[in-house]
């Protein structure tokens, strides 16, 4: 019996950043005082939400379950008679206190997060010199003492990563030159992703070229297919192979 509110939640689902975010959402939606949370009601709605996710086969992160247990525990403690206020007047026996503190602390960052988002957008609207060759123009130059062989390796990895080629193992048996194969993969992936209608296999190398370059392109293609980054289709036995990008999962 999902209510319309629950359906609304379902739509919003990917926007939750965790149990605290979900709780804050419920508290605001119910317009209740964060210092006096009606714990039974909120717990029920929280658990309903987890149910909705379960029914839609969404994996629920462990943190949501831990919070569910915490809520149930607080609810149980709220049912117990209030302990007498002790002599020094400490009345911090409210079982909700710790949770409220966490919610308030989390809530403090909402303003800054919003500000960062606005600044990020503003900043992306201005361009610096040479941005054509260095699209991530916020990256600053590197000093000599940091320019080590490892920095070269790191730079190579970041190039490959930005092309969509990960560090994952390559099955092709290439005793050396695995880097070469990865770079070919990066090249093919970029080209294929830039063409929604696909790229013909024979366009992946510029003829005339050496036989091993064709072999390399072929191996790179097989590896990309194995990693499910591209799919290749061939209409007939001798027809051209057309390579398409798979929907990026990252």
């Amino acid at each position: 019996m999902p209510t319309s509110a629950q359906r609304a939640l379902q739509v919003r689902l990917p926007a939750f950043e965790g149990p605290l975010d979900l709780l804050l959402h419920l508290i605001r939606q119910q317009r209740v005082d964060i210092y006096d949370i009606p714990i039974a009601r909120i717990t029920e709605q929280y658990l309903d939400q987890l149910d909705v996710w379960r029914r839609t086969d969404l994996a629920i992160a462990g943190e949501y379950l831990v919070m569910a247990a915490t809520l149930v525990e607080i609810k149980a403690r709220m049912l117990l008679p209030k302990p007498p206020i002790d002599e020094d007047g400490a009345s911090d026996a409210d079982p909700r206190a710790e949770l409220v503190e966490r919610l308030l602390e989390y809530q403090r960052y909402e303003g800054p997060v919003e500000a960062l988002r606005v600044w990020e957008g503003d900043r992306r609207m201005i361009y610096f010199r040479g941005a054509a060759e260095n699209p991530d123009d916020y990256l600053l130059p590197i000093d000599t003492d940091a320019l080590t062989p490892l920095a070269l390796l790191e730079a190579l990895r970041s190039v490959l990563a930005s092309a969509g080629v990960s560090d994952s193992a390559i099955t092709a048996v290439l005793p050396r030159r695995r880097v070469t194969l990865r770079m070919k993969m990066a090249e093919i992936l970029r080209r294929v992703r830039a063409h929604s209608e696909g790229v013909s296999f024979s366009d992946l190398f510029d003829l005339p070229c050496a036989v091993h370059e064709i072999v390399l392109a072929f191996l790179a293609l097989l590896e990309l297919m194995r990693q499910r980054l591209v799919i290749a289709r061939q209409r007939g036995p001798h027809a051209d192979i057309i390579v398409h990008a798979c929907e990026a999962s990252t």
Binding site: E17, G18, R28, A61, E63, P112, V113, A115, P135
Partner: protein, 195 residues
């Protein structure tokens, strides 16, 4: 435009990175204290000629940049390769910016969710960096923001971040549920202007 101001313009043009006062002064053979004044003059001259460029104070220095008004034309021609940050990444970046140096468990305690993947992404994008180890059990890694963080968000200095709002008090309940707005002056343009 005086010769020195024109030289200043050239310097910012070729630099391709934010230039600190000291770097400008040593290239121009002028006093460090004169640099701000020169930059203001350059700024005025650019405004006066209706230039598409302006002088920004960013990541601890001065840098020449295009004005926002021309974003549409430039976006047609120059792609940005990195995508925008996810909300999880912005949250993590904000927590580190205010709490630095800070460890992963401390960030996770505030966010309430596992954050190691997000931190790795921010490290890869060089918006965060390891800045040391905490003197505590297990000596966990401490994270902080980088000059790239400032550049990415168009900030001149980490102190430009408005102070973190105090936790909401029982009296001021925010029924609207909207995040508190940040002070307006902080969201705007950082062009060098006023003297």
């Amino acid at each position: 435009m005086s010769d020195l101001v024109a030289a200043c313009e050239c310097l910012l043009f070729v630099a391709g990175e934010p230039l600190a006062d000291a770097e400008v002064a040593s290239a121009l053979h002028c006093e460090r204290d004169d640099v701000q004044c020169l930059m203001e003059e350059l700024s005025k001259a650019l405004d006066a000629r209706g230039s598409g460029l302006h002088v920004l104070r960013i990541a601890g220095g001065y840098q020449l940049a295009t004005r926002q008004a021309h974003a549409a034309v430039l976006a047609r021609y120059f792609a940005r390769s990195a995508s925008r940050l996810s909300r999880a990444a912005l949250e993590t970046a904000a927590i580190v910016a205010y709490q630095q140096p800070v460890t992963l468990p401390e960030i996770e305690a505030i966010r309430g969710v596992s954050t190691s993947g997000v931190v790795k992404t921010l490290l890869d994008r060089r918006l965060l960096a390891e800045v040391g180890r905490k003197r505590a059990a297990g000596r966990p890694i401490l994270y902080g923001t980088t000059p790239e963080f400032l550049h990415y968000f168009g900030l001149a200095d980490i102190d430009d971040l408005p102070s973190l709002p105090e936790p909401e008090q029982p009296s001021q309940i925010d029924h609207a549920g909207a995040p508190a707005a940040m002070p307006n002056e902080a969201t705007g343009d950082r062009a060098v202007e006023e003297s």
